[in-house]
Symmetry: C2
Subunit: 426 residues, 2 copies
């Protein structure tokens, strides 16, 4: 399929030049990309499969499980949550013994939120804002309901749904047990000031919890340097860990022995195989584990982390900024004149690794892109065409071609063939 | 290696004859068994890899994730927890819409225990017994700690550590919110009277929760017929779902709309993609889900369930009983005279699919079996040599040979070469 229009073709030369100059270009060849005409800009929902992961999974299933059977536990499985956690730690500015990989993001948020509320007795409030994942709000609502009738969630509204509320710090007070935010907003891609907000929470004696799902692997983070207390995030977006991969969980070292995971399981117990009748929470991050680790899913995560560490998260971020800038340049030249808005920050330092373009027909445009233009972005209500850049495998040519096809959909009003009612995923 | 001694060789003929008459014998060829001299009797810790799972995992990783990317969610991933749950339901005597596969056994127990305590306000007690998994007790202790200072766990002691306490029903009273037990005891293999104990709990107005980890896939169960309220269990033992595979969770249909999962996540929400700000628990079993389902691990579970369904759980149980009887016959002939005890019930109807043999040097004997005799059983304190029979792949010849090698270890006192201190798994 060649959809590139004549004027767009001129700009293609510059995209190709940028790819030639890209020091991370070789990493694209490390991923399974069979359908080369398909432009995948949804790596912030599900990252691509690294070739080495495919190989490693055959090994994990066929040689380790099939061949070693129960002996696998002593040959690397037991330590997988810590080993994977230590690699994630290097990507997020934490120490190796501050991170484990286990359970889902939501379950990990539940553990951390309940623990935080119990660590701040007499305080009743969790502060968050309207840019947070609804899912994170649900977990907080459930945890608050367990905590008692006077506990409550304060969701500070965003004026435009794209940028954080200016008065977030004003909502933090002496009754605030916890401030929880998502570091990169899933709609606009807004990146918060981690150090500043964490400090504001601390000034009120509250704990600070960051959801790093849209940040980990896309940009350098400095959890320890920022004094962050708690964090969690998923590994299936920019960390390329596979669909529904285990999540991670961070607890600042000097809080590890005072906070208590509310879900007491045998993998979080001090002396697991003594099978003592009473739970004794393990030291360090061990206590944040619950049940038997999901070995096969952890095996899928690990090779992708090695790839990210090889590339270096600083270089990934530098390329991500160049690529979102490039995308925004094309938007300005081709799409702004057609009435498409920019829902992501223009300032690179405040922007994550995706760009959301706004259009009243965003939902139908996304359908047209997927169904007939061989571009996969995603839609986020009310009007976001969300275009994700995963610098390990997204090329400048991908961005160029996707923007050209998007332009064509809008110019030719191809989206009019699609229903405007959103259908539920079945 | 030929370790079969002369007298044992005579009995081998009868083992081979039993294998020839075994209607399930062909299922053994459905599993990856490369090391044919190794006798694996630890299928109740980690089941073997079905050949079709190896194939299916390549498909799930390479074709579905690698090739379909985010589109996989609409092509089977979303419904995997329900689809896998419905297959497990057929194995445990439940309806398709009463079971989902998600999270770990411990996380599922936590959800169910907290929900049960909240469904019985004013009642403060959970009743269990000393044969339950320590891990299950930990989860209950954690849940009770959240519930309040007057809540407590009553662990009715077993007189011998092998059989359940006779006065279990006496511990159930008007203050009992929940009775929780493991259906097949992990040390002795004792199988409880599910109908009788469930009825006793109900007579006191308590809810009944069964851990089916050592039962599911090994014997027919009749959760609905027995009026069971709640159940959970793992899929990596007799269900052959792989190391740390997702667990399952059962809630009786008429309780589904009244009980509430305390961990509120987006996959348990009514209209997940509407991303409404307030959590609204989904209908039926949907509300028991939390985060994004672990697609790759669910993919590993499914083919093994098909295998179990093909074999038929009644036939699996019939073979299991024949095999544990056969093992006990060999014990009586060869090992009882050497001072080895039988720690499992003699009555087949009260015995699960493993047999625990008792010996003061059990720990060293198990080490010798693994290190030099190419037999993998496992040890459970204080004196259990636990021999698991997985009828889908365990042959009578396996049992014969394992018992011959065990006899040799004891007769030749080979265990004396091994340390008596238990080392921690690293």
């Amino acid at each position: 399929m060649t959809l590139t229009s004549a004027p767009a073709a001129a700009a293609l030369t510059s995209a190709r030049r940028l790819d030639e100059q890209d020091e991370l270009a070789r990493f694209r060849r490390q991923f399974v990309i069979e359908d080369t005409d398909l432009i995948y800009l949804d790596g912030n929902s599900l990252g691509r499969l690294p070739k080495r992961t495919a190989q490693h999974m055959r090994q994990a299933v066929e040689r380790e499980w099939g061949g070693r059977l129960i002996r696998g536990w002593n040959e690397g499985w037991f330590t997988a949550p810590q080993r994977v956690g230590a690699k994630i730690a290097r990507l997020i500015g934490a120490e190796a013994d501050e991170v484990i990989a286990a359970d889902s993001t939501s379950v990990n948020l539940f553990k951390l939120i309940v623990a935080a509320l119990r660590a701040r007795p007499g305080r009743h409030k969790i502060v968050t804002d309207g840019l947070n994942f609804p899912s994170d709000l649900y977990v907080a609502q459930g945890a608050l309901q367990l905590a008692g009738p006077h506990h409550r969630l304060e969701v500070v509204a965003s004026a435009d749904g794209l940028t954080p509320p200016g008065d977030l710090a004003e909502a933090m007070d002496g009754d605030t047990a916890l401030v929880m935010l998502t570091h990169t907003a899933f709609k606009s891609g807004w990146v918060y000031d981690m150090a500043g907000i964490t400090a504001a929470a601390h000034r009120q004696g509250a704990l600070m919890l960051w959801d790093l799902s849209h940040s980990a692997g896309a940009m350098p983070l400095a959890l320890d340097e920022c004094g962050v207390d708690l964090a969690a995030g998923c590994t299936y977006k920019y960390l390329n860990g596979g669909p529904g991969a285990p999540a991670f969980l961070f607890v600042r070292r000097d809080l590890q022995d005072t906070l208590l995971n509310p879900i007491w399981g045998w993998f979080g117990q001090t002396a697991q195989f003594d099978m003592l009748p009473d739970y004794q929470p393990g030291p360090g991050m061990l206590r944040w584990m619950v049940g038997t680790p999901n070995v096969l899913s952890l095996a899928a995560v690990e090779p992708a982390l090695d790839l990210a560490l090889e590339a270096g998260v600083d270089r990934v971020r530098a390329k991500s900024v160049r690529q979102t800038e490039y995308l925004i340049e094309l938007w300005r030249a081709w799409l702004e004149p057609l009435g498409v808005g920019l829902n992501s920050p223009r300032e690179a330092s405040r922007r994550g690794s995706h760009v959301s373009l706004g259009h009243p027909e965003a939902w139908r445009i996304v359908q047209a892109l997927i169904e007939e233009m061989r571009v996969i972005p995603d839609f986020r209500s009310p009007d976001n065409i969300r275009l994700s850049i995963a610098p390990l495998y997204t090329s400048f040519a991908d961005i160029h071609e996707a923007m050209a096809r998007l332009r064509q959909v809008i110019v030719e009003r191809r989206y009019e063939n699609y229903p405007s009612e959103r259908f539920e995923v079945t």
